[in-house]
Structures are given as C-alpha cells and as structure tokens.
Assembly symmetry: C2
Homo-oligomer: 341 residues x 2
DNA sequence: CTGAAAGCGCTTACAG
DNA sequence: CTGAAAGCGCTTACAG
C-alpha cells in the first residue's frame, strides 16, 4: 500500500502583503525588518503589528540573492563517515557546533568531502553555497586549504597537514598542555616509570601529546618510559598495550593519548591479570563514554570538545561578519580524577 | 595578535556570461543546464563547453527563488544534543543520512528542536527554509507532527507519540523481529531461563522489543524470565543488571535491548564473578562500539542503522519529488554471533 | 529549436 | 522619514 500526500502550499505572506496591511511601501517594511534606524516609531509599530498578524517570515532565497549571503555554514567532514562518527570526539564537536549555530542566524550543513573528487567539494564551497566553512577533515592536498581560505572564511578544527604559512584560523586544544596535565597527575600520584600509548605520530596532535608526556617526565627528573604508537581506536590501544607488556621495560603507569585507546588497553591489562591502578595507573585524554564506561573509570583530561565545536562556529561567524580573530583559539582543558590513578 | 583576511569576491560566472561565450541566449543555457530535451545536440555541446571553460555553477539562491525549492532538507534533532550525540545509534543515523544526501542534490542541515519555543522550529520548517524534514526528535506535542506533515514532506525516524492516524511516513526497523532474532538465538544455544533488560516501556520501540522477547520464549514452550527496565544507557543497564541479580529468579541468559545497556550490564556481571557466556549468555541489539569494545564481544542484532539514515533521506527525496512511498519502510536486520553466547 | 520578456521576493541607492 | 525603481541570477510560459 502506498499513500499520496498533498501539501497545502499556503504561500506565506510576502513583503507586499505586510506593506498593504500596514499601509506603507514594501521598502519601509524591509527597513523595519532589517532594523533601519530611520523609521518613525509609529511606523515601526504598525509594521511589526502587521508582521505579527500575518506571521510573516522573510523569504530566504530572495534575501540571499540580493545580499549575496546564504546564512549557511558548512561543516566539512571526511568521506569515511563511518569511522568519523564512530569516534565520539567528532560527534561531540558536531554537537557543540550544531547547538551553538542554532542560537545564531546561521544553519549548519554537513558536507562530506569527496575523496575521489575533492574538486567537487571545493567548488561547492567556493560557489557561494555557504558563507563560511568549518574544516574537520584533512583535505587531500593542503594547498587546497589556502585556496579555500582565500575565497571564503574558514575555521579549522584540525591542523592542516604540511606547513601552511598563510593566515589561517584554528580552534583547537593545547595538546601538549593536556598531555602534560595527565602525566603530571601520574607523577603526583607517585608513579615513576611512566610509559605511553601515543596517537598517530604523523599528526601534529599525536606528536604534541607525546611531547607533553616526555617533557613533563623529564622536568620531574624522571626517565621517560616506553612508547607505543596507537591509532586512537580501542583495538589500536589494545595492540599497543600488548606490545608494551611484551617489552622488557617495566612500568607502573601509562599515559594513553585517547580514551578510546585507553578502553582497549584496559581490556588487555585485565586479561593479563594486572590491577588498575594497583599495578598500573592510567591517565588519558577525552571525557566521554570511553572514559566512564570502564571498570575502573578512567582519570582523564576533559578536552571540552563540545565547546570546541561551539567556538569554531563562533569564530567563523565573527569572520563572516567582517571581524578579526586570533589565528589560534585554544579551548580550556580540565583534569578529571577518577579511579584509574 | 589578530589577523584580518580579505576574501577575493571573485564573482562566479553567471548565466549571461556562459550565454555570451556560447553565443546563445541565457534561456538556452538554462535549458541545457536543466536537461531540456528540446535543444540541438550542437547547441548543447557548445553550451556545455562554455560552462566547463568558465567553471560555471548555477546560483542557488536565484534558482531557489524562482523554483520555490531550496534543495535543503532538515534533520530535526532534540535539544538535548549531548545525550543525543552520545548515543552511537543516532550518530550512525546521521552518518548514513549525510552520506546518502551527499549523493543527491540536497544538502542536509541539522536543526535542533527548541523545547522552550517549539513554535520557532515549526515556523522555520514551514516557512520554506527546507524542502522536507527528517524527524529524529519526539516533538513536544504530537499534533505538531500532523500540522508539519501537511505543510512539507516529512519522514520519521522515530515513532511519534500518541496515536496518529494521519498519513505519515516512517523508516524504522522491526523491533519485534529484532528482539525475536536475538532471543531465538539464545534459545538455540540451549538457554532456558532467559531474562531481559528492556528499553523504556513508555516508547513503542521499548515495548516492541519486550514483546519480541516474550513471544519468542513462549513460542518455544518456555517461560519468560524476569524483566527489568532500562533507559538505553550503560549505567541504566548496569542498574537493571543489579536488580536482576538481586532478585530471586535465576537465569542463564539475558536479552538486553541495547548494546549500551549490555556494556553496562557486563561490568556488573564481571563484578559479581559471573562468567559470560558460561554462567550467563548475553544477546543484544545494535552493532557498534558498545558491542565490540567489551570482553567478551557481544552477540547482537545489527540494526543497520546507517542504512536507516540513508533510507530516510531516500524516501524523503521521493516524497519531495512528488512520488508516493509506503507509510512504513523497514530496514533489514542481521544476527551477528560473537563470544557472549 | 531558440529568444525576449516577465517574474520569483527581497534590498538599497536614489529622489523627494 | 518614505516611496518608486532597479536589480540580484535564475526559470519558464509565450511567440516565432
């Protein structure tokens, strides 16, 4: 069985309609709507009354056509959406961005970067479909970033690869500081042989987190333990934990560069009969389901990821409206102590 | 330090520009772009050539204004975005929807339903901002659904509350069948005393999953075990597991209505020293991080949630384009056997 | 098969 | 302070 639904195309009232009811010209109505200061108080009242009675809402397309503004911003995400959305980190960024956007006049649209035809995505972005873009995806070619930034306002949530010296705007956390915060906590708990499971070392975030761990340990007069590289996934964390355990270097704590990896590592530690935090203390980054849905729950650094998403939109809107912003905006971080340390 | 970036407003080529280069009128260019059959092959070639050389892309706003189409569809999500995005189920729906949308001419925009001012959301939706809406949020008042469905094409991903007899379109899984599939698997494994941790029983999905469990057990000539209600979260699952364990009814298996709850329940079973699947077998629903990031990994029914998101967009587009679709579209499900049974 | 013209619903100089 | 007019970039009857 199928159904056919017809939609009553109740054409919403137009500017002209409001003008007629208010007894003014549509120019005046337009001025009132756009808050022009040069309209009599009386006229404003009359127009607003008419607007309210008609339930008038400006036509977006018409406005967009003349203003050359779309009131849309794109969130550019990688083509591998399955992996992307599986990471609670990105879901949280989107959440914060969507939430903040809803308090503005801008709509947020999800734009999947086509890897087979990146040109398509760039075209879309440059051709006036959006007023600005939020980049959560590493474009195939980093030069594409620059080009895009020249066409429309762009805010990055991931560091572009390659060395970009052009003026770009980034919202991020201080990865080094976050890693240092977690590592210092381990030291404060009396641990002296601290290993790490790092993120991918071909990303700046991965390297910075590693550096924060190393520098903090060294600054405390200790010797950095072993390091195994992970890929931010639970299984990657588990594999790294196995390598750590199989190596000859003993350790009494491990700083793990993401909660997802920590969750995976914890399973391995349990399998090997190691107590957490008795035998091994764990501190990680990201305060999400992966740091609370474990036993014991994990001590972590809350990266305030939703705030990051919100800040990305906030900064982009400032840029769109012609404002100037810092090249780098850092989102505050916070240590959350739980039972794994 | 702040930076000021100026964007070269390289006005993209216009219809007129293409027309000039091709030596035809803009009407003809428009016809070619829109695939009108009544244009000479030669002309088509010449116009397409000009389009390619200029990198011309139609102006969305202008087209939208005259066509009274926006090429935008809204995904309406609840105001409690944090909880919403924390549930991998919804992240997966969005993922599938975004992915499918990117293969169409429609852009997907995330619209957060304002609970304090639901009128605002409805207004936005009805005022021609979008060509159609995908509903993943229970509107405060169910009558609002009907109203909305009368204004624009709407596809639901959640069952509206209250009894709606109007013509609405839903994309969903067969919850009863999914629960039955998981439960039957438990029976096939030789379990005879099967308890359940249900979803919220004030939702139809929760009730259907419970009913699938009950009916399957009864049909096998067994007696349904105890039932504890959960809220789809890990902690809710853990609490329900505790109640189950503290009751006097013994059980050798439990059907848990979501992987998130199962992950929480598993922690409790471990704490109490129960072996899975030795002492208790577990089967659940949802094939995501919560069913694989556990030890043992969970036998589950894959609800193909990303496919559901894709199907929602697919059906909505059919509706927008004037087609007729079934009132209910069911997404196929699949049993995935792992180590918990 | 193709072009000239009107119109989609706004905004904004330009006059007054 | 307000109105008439032009124009944003398209699509689509209407002629030919």
């Amino acid at each position: 069985m199928t159904t056919e639904t017809s939609h009553d195309t109740t054409l919403s009232p137009t500017l002209e309609g409001v003008a007629a009811l208010a007894g003014v010209s549509s120019s005046t109505v337009s001025r009132v709507i756009n808050g022009s200061p040069q309209v009599t108080e009386q006229t404003v009242a009359r127009v607003n009354d008419a607007i309210a009675r008609l339930g008038y809402v400006p036509n977006r397309a018409a406005r967009s056509l003349v203003r050359r503004r779309t009131q849309m911003i794109a969130m550019v995400i990688p083509e591998r959406t399955a992996e992307f959305f599986a990471d609670p980190y990105f879901a949280e960024v989107i959440q914060g961005a969507a939430m903040y956007a809803s308090s503005t006049d801008y709509s947020l649209t999800l734009l999947i970067e086509s890897e087979s035809a990146p040109e398509k995505t760039h075209q879309f972005l440059r051709r006036g479909n959006v007023d600005g873009a939020l980049i959560l995806s590493h474009f195939s070619a980093s030069s594409a970033y620059l080009e895009l930034s020249r066409s429309i306002p762009v805010v990055f949530g991931v560091r572009p690869t390659g060395d970009i010296d052009a003026e770009i705007h980034i919202v991020d956390v201080d990865n080094t500081a976050a890693a240092a915060l977690a590592t210092q906590h381990l030291i404060d708990r009396g641990r002296t042989r601290i290993a790490t499971i790092s993120g991918p070392l071909d990303t700046s975030a991965g390297r910075e987190r590693l550096e924060g761990w190393r520098a903090t340990i060294t600054a405390a007069g200790l010797v950095p333990g072993a390091c195994e590289e992970g890929d931010y996934t639970p299984s990657g964390g588990a594999a790294a934990a196995r390598r750590l355990l199989d190596s000859t270097t003993p350790f009494d704590a491990v700083f793990i560069a993401s909660a997802q990896m920590a969750a995976g590592a914890l399973v391995v530690l349990n399998e090997r009969g190691l107590e957490v935090p008795g035998d091994v203390a764990i501190a990680t980054l990201d305060n999400n389901a992966f740091s609370t849905n474990t036993s014991p729950q994990l001590t972590t650094v809350d990266l305030h990821t939703a705030d990051k998403g919100a800040a990305m939109v906030e900064k982009l809107v400032e840029l769109i409206q012609g404002g100037t912003i810092d090249p780098v905006t850092l989102v505050p971080i916070e240590l959350v102590t739980r039972d794994s340390t």
